[in-house]
């Protein structure tokens, strides 16, 4: 294992670090430009870049160590990634009880279903070198879809409290009163992925295809495979968005069909109503 690690740290790593230095310098110039225009992103940019570089180097080291490891280890890595993704997405729902499990189950449902389908159809090889990079792409997009869907649904609910409570007052099921907002939240979460699919090959050639072409695989097959990856990302995002909004809908109402995310006041009241029942 150590030998594998030593082999992976060669001249190309030093070259890579030098290139990363160049990329950081360009980003620093952009940050300076932003500062000149009174857009202050210095701190965030430094933290993000430092985190990004360290995380990617660590991932590279882990992959170098585990490249030929068992499938179970690959699944464990994806599980940890799903938890990290859920923690990130749940930050959009600060103050809402159960946000973390909501995000985790949504991302797990979307990414898990799609990765399992890819493994079953052999469009994804069951080894770590393939499973982890492709799986991580799907999880990352599921995370974005989850965050966008729940943020949009929350905003829609807060903007339409009157209509929702008018519906409830007329005897409607909670699900009926928020149905239009749930639909628009799922649609909003899918829009970036749909745009990604539309622009595939025209505006950008994604990394997987580029990597496959560089490593000598037929460009046509690489293109088709890239389409499969983006289609799976779209599917995972759709499942994640649907599950996230349905789970959030169930948390948006109390057992007595009262809107509980109306405001901070109502958030507290839902706890009180739980006691009352």
């Amino acid at each position: 294992m150590l030998a594998e690690l030593q082999n992976s740290i060669g001249d190309d790593v030093l070259t890579g670090l030098a290139q990363a230095g160049g990329a950081i310098a360009l980003c620093a110039a952009v940050v300076a430009l932003c500062r000149w225009q009174s857009v202050h992103v210095e701190r965030e940019a430094v933290v993000s870049m430092a985190r990004g570089l360290v995380q990617m180097v660590l991932v590279g080291l882990v992959l170098a160590l585990l490249l030929h490891g068992r499938l179970l280890i690959g699944c464990l890595i994806l599980f940890m990634m799903a938890i990290a993704a859920a923690i990130t997405a749940a930050q959009r729902l600060k103050g809402m009880a159960g946000a973390l499990p909501l995000c985790f189950w949504s991302i797990a449902a979307g990414a898990g279903t799609v990765i399992a389908a890819m493994l079953a159809t052999r469009s994804l090889r069951p080894d770590i070198s393939m499973l982890v990079p492709v799986g991580s792409m799907i999880i990352a997009n599921a995370m974005n879809a989850c965050a966008q869907a729940i943020e949009r649904l929350r905003a829609e609910i807060l903007a339409h409290v009157g209509q929702i409570e008018a519906g409830l007052s007329l005897g409607a099921e909670p699900a009926v009163t928020v149905a239009p907002y749930l639909q628009s939240a799922v649609y909003a979460s899918l829009l970036p992925r749909l745009d990604m699919m539309k622009s595939l090959g025209l505006v950008w050639i994604p990394g997987v295809m580029a990597g496959m072409v560089v490593s000598g695989i037929s460009p046509v097959y690489a293109g088709i495979y890239q389409f499969i990856i983006v289609a799976m990302i779209l599917a995972a995002s759709g499942i994640t968005g649907l599950v996230a909004t349905v789970l959030m809908r169930s948390r948006a109402f109390s057992a007595a069909a009262q809107l509980t995310i109306r405001s901070a006041e109502t958030m507290a009241s839902s706890r009180a109503s739980g006691q009352a029942r």
């Binding site: 009157g162 008018a166 005897g171 009180a272």
Partner: protein, 254 residues
Amino acid sequence: MTTRPNGVANDIRTVADAPQVAIEPEPAAAITDLETRHLSRKVAGRVLVQDVSVQVLAGEILAIVGPSGAGKSSFLRLLNRLDEPTSGTVLLKSQDYRSITPRELRRRVGMVMQTAYLFPGTIAANIAFGPYQCGKMLAPAQIEGLLERVGLPGLADRDVSNLSGGEAQRVALARTLANEPEVLLLDEPTSALDEASVSGIEKLILGIVRERRMMCLIVTHNRTQAERLAGRTMVMQAGRLAAIGPTEQVLHAG
């Protein structure tokens, strides 16, 4: 402690009179249609409604007045369980409302809010919304009948985005009436309307409550409106029931 709705002249209470006691003896055989029992609601330690007990009879309009933040709307929202009481309960025809499903309760206890909050679409679709939720389809003639009742005949197919404030509030009232509620809760239904619209809506409310023998509770900032509409008035202060009794006496009690 409760106060019978048909109590007479001296049935007025004030905070200063604590412990609150109904002065007039309660009629033994009064039929209770809607009764709140020690209804309270606290949110994050803040009292919104505190120990409110009142009764309302069929065909009666009870006005709820008081300064801003007194808990009038909070009290009203507890009656159709849009919010949950932290203690106390409501009896609807002697049945604890927690034993009624929230959807059925809200059909029986209809509410018209300060803003109409109509759903996008036609007036007809808005009116048919409530009955449709329990599997009933309103016939066009029934919709037209409701529209005639609220003074908007022939407008069933009009889009709600083209309505004035007064028209929208009339549609909101018709939409609530489509469920044939036993209780009508009105949360400042005329506060955003001009004088002419206010007068029309008030006449409408009086007529509908009389003809349908409904129980009606109306929150209003306008004391003269309370005098025009309500046989009895309750005054709320800091979430508490400060006074209740015949409107003229309560409002002129100083």
